[in-house]
């Protein structure tokens, strides 16, 4: 695209999008950090697409957002202690999942308190993160990246860690899939049929924590829903069938990550902005087409 008047000069000096697809791809993948970002982005997208579909089904959107925010003190605490931020992300996201599962009142009639529980845990996590930041002033300069994402920091080691975690989490999800689906659709009947509903939701929240830790590498902790919930909500607006839904959700997450990374690379605008915009555009299109197909005013699929 041509540089627009008033945009910073760095745009003119940076990579240019041309009509030659081959050259564009070459430009896009010429640096190792971009190749790492694309591979790691694909790994995170597959994981988030599958796990996020269940998050939409179970109404755990707010929990997903909160687990991401919980990862923030993890990352800042790890930097404060001189560890890799990735360690902090995973440790705190998984611990936060356990805390939410433990503090959520038992019984399915307590949705209200569940939302309040999640909010209170999130507030505490933010308070802790802010305290770490204020203890270690130098961290402030990279705060924006932690909150809103950057793809420059992904190293080869990170890619391996992300891939191994994703493989493990997807394996667990494959085993857990059927009881989880049962428990999500009708918790009471599932419990009566012998499904350990509380244990299943604990394991699911831990999986959600892992997915959030992966997604926040690209989107930052404040925008993880762009990978976890937006593609899944788009898929749920198009089909109610579980297998098709999960597959579509994974596909949308992949498209979102790759398109977002490429757009951010060529425009020098933040990756967080592109990832959320691509996802939101797809969601609006899907809801629009679902509304057209089912006739205006009649709601068949709720997402």
């Amino acid at each position: 695209m041509p540089p627009i008047d008033g945009w910073p000069a760095v745009l003119a000096a940076g990579p240019r999008l041309t009509w030659d697809l081959h050259r564009d791809l070459h430009q896009l993948l010429q640096y190792p950090f971009m190749r790492h970002a694309f591979v790691a982005g694909a790994v995170a997208a597959v994981m988030c697409g599958a796990i996020g579909w269940f998050a939409v089904l179970r109404g755990e959107t707010y929990a997903a957002h909160t687990l991401a925010v919980v990862a923030f003190p993890g990352a800042s605490g790890a930097v404060f202690l001189g560890l890799a931020p990735l360690v902090g992300y995973f440790a705190f996201a998984v611990a936060g999942a356990g805390l939410i599962a433990w503090l959520s009142p038992p019984g399915s009639g307590q949705r209200e308190r569940h939302s309040a529980t999640v909010g209170a845990v999130q507030a505490m996590a933010l308070a802790l993160g802010f305290w770490f930041v204020s203890l270690y002033r130098g961290f402030l300069s990279s705060l924006s990246g932690f909150l809103f994402g950057s793809f420059l920091a992904v190293t080869r080691g990170d890619v391996i860690v992300l891939a191994v975690t994703a493989a493990a989490a997807l394996g667990v999800l494959a085993v857990l899939g059927r009881p989880l689906f049962f428990a999500s659709v009708d918790a009471r009947v599932a419990e009566a049929a012998g499904v350990p509903v509380r244990a299943v939701s604990l394991v699911y929240l831990v999986l959600l924590g892992c997915a959030v830790a992966e997604a926040s590498q690209f989107t930052g902790v404040l925008l993880v829903l762009a990978l976890l919930v937006v593609p899944a909500a788009t898929a749920s607006a198009l089909t109610a069938r579980p297998a098709a839904g999960v597959a579509l959700s994974v596909a949308f997450a992949l498209v979102t990550v790759w398109a977002g990374l490429a757009a951010a690379y060529f425009t020098d605008r933040p990756v967080g902005f592109w990832v959320t915009s691509v996802g939101f555009g797809g969601y609006v299109l899907a809801r629009g087409s679902a509304a057209v197909r089912t006739g205006w005013g009649r709601r068949v699929v709720v997402a």
Binding site: P8, V56, G59, T61, Y62, A64, H65, L103, P105, P106, G107, S108, G109, Q110, R111, E112, R113, S115, A116, T117, V118, G119, A120, Q122, A123, M124, L126, A127, L128, F130, W131, S134, L135, L140, S141, L143, S144, L147, F148, A187, R188, L222, L223, L225, A226, V229, V230, A233, R269, P270, G272, F273, V275, T276, S277, G279, F280, Y283, V302, A303
Partner: protein
């Protein structure tokens, strides 16, 4: 009693602490009241989303050359109306909230990058200010404005309180009895939006969530009666703010927002643990009815 008075005499002789105390108390009353209804309506996420939208609005205004305050109020109220209308008759779905707010926050990131590259402030220091605020850094005019806005929000909430409670607990029956449920949805979320817009600028999104969610969660754990829970929520929010402010005055390395939230969280954990002992001590009771 004299020891208590003595402990407060030092901090209250300082200007910045008096202003933080006044603004914090007003914020706590409004947040405790609104938060109690948010918990009852399962809309805590909406308040959280509105506080992030305030961030986008503020940055958009700065990027376009307006005062940040204009953008914060405009964006928050507009999105509050949007969410209330999209939510329609049903209560607001978390998924819609999440999708909309994530995109708006993404727009905020774009404005942040425009703003920081044109103004060369860099490092997202503005973002940090909007997100985390500083209750110890406000002047007396801001404290007074916060108190007036909080009073207005409380007045609106008290005015619509009864029908809103009815509509929150059972929207279908309320609608059948002629309660204007849709109008109440909009009025409530706009009131919440105005409160969020002011408090985000004064105390930051972080402390806002701590004041909205934690005291209300504690109060609803203490009692099942709605009006008592509302009163308890306001009282707990005010007590939390006072204790947290005093704590962070006594320990300057602790940021005030972190101190206030830590106090609230510990209190909530204690109440939660106590309630569980009561519940499980007497055998497992029947849990509430599942929502339709």
């Amino acid at each position: 009693m004299t020891a208590l008075a003595g402990a407060w005499a030092g901090p209250l002789s300082q200007d910045f602490f008096r202003q933080a105390f006044a603004a914090g108390t007003a914020a706590a009353v409004a947040a405790g009241l609104v938060g109690s209804f948010l918990v009852l309506r399962n809309q805590v996420f909406a308040a959280d989303a509105l506080s992030h939208v305030a961030f986008t609005g503020g940055l958009a205004a700065l990027a376009l050359g307006f005062a940040a305050r204009t953008g914060v109020f405009g964006a928050t109220v507009a999105v509050a109306v949007l969410l209330a209308v999209l939510g329609g008759r049903a209560r607001l779905g978390d998924v819609v909230t999440g999708v909309v707010f994530t995109w708006l926050l993404g727009l905020g990131v774009l404005f942040l990058s425009v703003f920081t590259s044109s103004k060369a402030t860099g490092n997202g220091a503005g973002a940090v200010r909007v997100l985390f605020g500083s209750i110890f850094g406000i002047d007396s005019a801001t404290a007074a404005r916060t108190a007036w806005i909080a009073a207005a929000v409380v007045a609106v909430m008290l005015f619509v309180g009864r029908p809103l409670l009815f509509a929150s607990i059972d929207p279908r029956v309320a609608e059948a009895r002629g309660v204007p449920v849709r109008v109440l949805n909009v009025v409530f979320l706009v009131a919440a939006g105005v409160m969020v817009a002011q408090l985000v600028q004064v105390v930051g999104a972080l402390l806002l969530l701590g004041l909205v969610a934690t005291p209300a969660a504690t109060a609803h754990r203490l009692t099942d009666r709605p009006w008592r829970a509302v009163g308890a929520s306001v009282a707990i929010a005010v007590a939390t703010v006072w204790a947290g402010l005093w704590l962070s005055y006594a320990r300057p390395s602790l940021p005030p927002s972190s101190g206030i939230i830590a106090v609230g969280f510990v209190g909530w954990l204690a109440v939660e643990a106590g309630a569980r002992r009561r519940v499980y001590g007497g055998g497992r009771p029947a849990t509430g009815e599942e929502r339709p």
